[in-house]
């Protein structure tokens, strides 16, 4: 099969890393070779795949050793079920330029030939805050973008903003970047599934998976595992496996149509 590269974007704290890690785990159980790349200076994307360990980040290694003294083995760590994990890392909050850190990480991974396998999952920081964080959407990288959102307005707002970035990038000549769908990571508010499904429809996409709120996610997390590993027979694990299957079978890749702010707000009001 050709290598599939997908990126998960969404508001900070919405559950991108949890979703990414469980998605990677579910994909790995389909016999696929998976690389998960955390593109967030918080560097906690891959923790649950690494028994709770914060792995050294590409940027930390560059800072301490210099680029020439790093090899592929220094930045790629093998975690749960053979999933290869990379954390881009970046500066401390409030200094430097995290976006440039993402660009530098991609260049380095490219140089090492690290971007290989059946599926690469990019787990990207909360919002597209500058050009650097759009790097995973650029040509040669993720061609399918998945938005992770709950039914909360601020989360939809962030998802809508990412639609703008995907739309703009999709208009470039060589760009293959498309929106693959919307993942509803529910907070448990009433009519949330309907709302997110309708949001997805209005931005010219589909809700590819509804993931209900479930306490087992927290239980798995305090045990420093993904749900797939901690409780493979749970209903929640089944949701993640379903997500993995739908993503692998997904053929509906669209150029999104972001909503105006008042259209977004009136949509949210309809489902209160």
């Amino acid at each position: 099969m050709t290598m599939k590269q997908i990126a998960l974007y969404g508001k900070g704290g919405i559950g991108k890393s949890t979703t990414s890690s469980n998605l990677s785990s579910a994909l790995s159980h389909r016999g696929l070779s998976i690389l998960q790349i955390g593109c967030d200076p918080k560097r906690d994307s891959t923790r649950m795949l690494m028994q709770g360990r914060f792995i050294p980040t590409v940027m930390d290694l560059v800072r301490v050793r210099g680029e020439s003294a790093i090899s592929l083995d220094d930045v790629v760590f093998t975690g749960y079920n053979g999933i290869r994990c990379v954390e881009a890392g970046g500066p401390e909050p409030g200094v430097g330029c995290a976006g440039r850190g993402i660009i530098a990480t991609f260049q380095l991974l490219e140089k090492f030939g690290a971007l290989k396998g059946d599926v690469i999952v990019y787990d990207v920081l909360g919002d597209v805050v500058c050009g650097g964080f759009a790097m995973p959407m650029r040509e040669g990288y993720a061609q399918e973008i998945y938005l992770v959102t709950s039914g909360e307005l601020m989360s939809l707002y962030a998802a809508n903003n990412i639609c703008k970035a995907v739309q703009r990038l999709a208009s470039r000549v060589k760009s293959k970047c498309r929106l693959g769908g919307v993942i509803c990571n529910a907070k448990g508010q009433p009519r949330e599934e309907e709302l997110v499904a309708e949001f997805a429809r209005r931005v010219n996409s589909t809700m590819i998976q509804y993931i209900p709120r479930d306490h087992v996610v927290q239980q798995a997390e305090v045990n420093q595992q993904t749900v797939i590993e901690y409780s493979p027979d749970s209903a929640q694990a089944e949701h993640y496996r379903s997500l993995a299957q739908r993503i692998m079978e997904n053929t509906r890749l669209t150029i999104p149509q972001p909503l105006e702010i008042d259209a977004l707000e009136s949509l949210a009001r309809e489902f209160i």
């Binding site: 970046g90 500066p91 401390e92 200094v95 440039r100």
Partner: protein, 346 residues
Amino acid sequence: MPSNPLPANLSRLGGCTLTGALSVTSHIHDTVTIIHGPKGCSHHNASLLHAICLDDDRMVMPSLISTALGESEIIFGGEEALRTAIRHAAGQNIRALFVLSTCIVDTIGDDTCAVCAEEYGIPVIPIPTAGFLGGSFQDGMNNALIALAGIAEPCPANGGINLIGEMNLEYEVRENSAEISRLLSLLGLSVNLHFVHDTTFSQLSLLGAARLNILRSPSLIPVGEYLRNRFGTPFIPSFPHGLSDTLAFLEQVADSCGIDGSTAVSSEKSRQDEMFVMGSGLNRLPVVLDRSHTGDEDLRAAGELAARLGITVDSDGNGLCLPVGSAIGTAGTRRMLHRWRRMIHA
């Protein structure tokens, strides 16, 4: 937010804010200037300053240090690199340090001022010079002069005159400086401080002692106003361009200092008249004035000179093309006349 809306705008004329500030700080001898940015920002400026020193027969390397930021500093912040550079430079037996910012450090948000405010044993003076914010060469120069003026304390008056913002990168900066000194001497006045041209850091403390500030050009008026507010010193907004402007300048300086300038004016007028004794040799030819590299004041001075010589400037652009140089004072006008004579006799 600054913008550049016209694609046709080649922006050749505004210059770089950083270079403008450097044209000032590099002329304070016992100091070092740190350029906080990638090394290329320092290299080009060092080359320019060095070439100008050579042109002036001075073998002086400008005392510049680059923090030489690379990608790692851009990602993780360049403040530590700046701190290291300041500590290194502060130990080199100098009186003060200037820290000039560049486009990239102001993009990533390095807090240059906060790092400069730490204790290093000598004054460390930050000057914001990121060019992408829309400032020009002139803004950089003005920012540097105002930063320097901010550290000078008021001091007793000594009756001297300050020359403000001499254009250290212009070809005839020394000649122009000497001409203004000569004109002042006709009035019995002398220069208190060149702010800043060929100066030491300790001399800057005399800034507030002058009775009058003479600005090199009206683009320095923000500096003149700052100095007037800080020290109460009045200012004249420009060096004189051309003949009649030079006589008016003498009167203006005399008035401002409350002295009688009539003797100085008449002696300078005789000096100017001597320029025309031998004629121009140009009066039978139509001429045009080359206005490509000149400001309005110099063009006006050139027009006045042509009129005094009785030669006709062809408004259709036909005829011998005469260069218009910087015509500061009588001497600058005489140099322009000399070039015109060379053109016709060449």
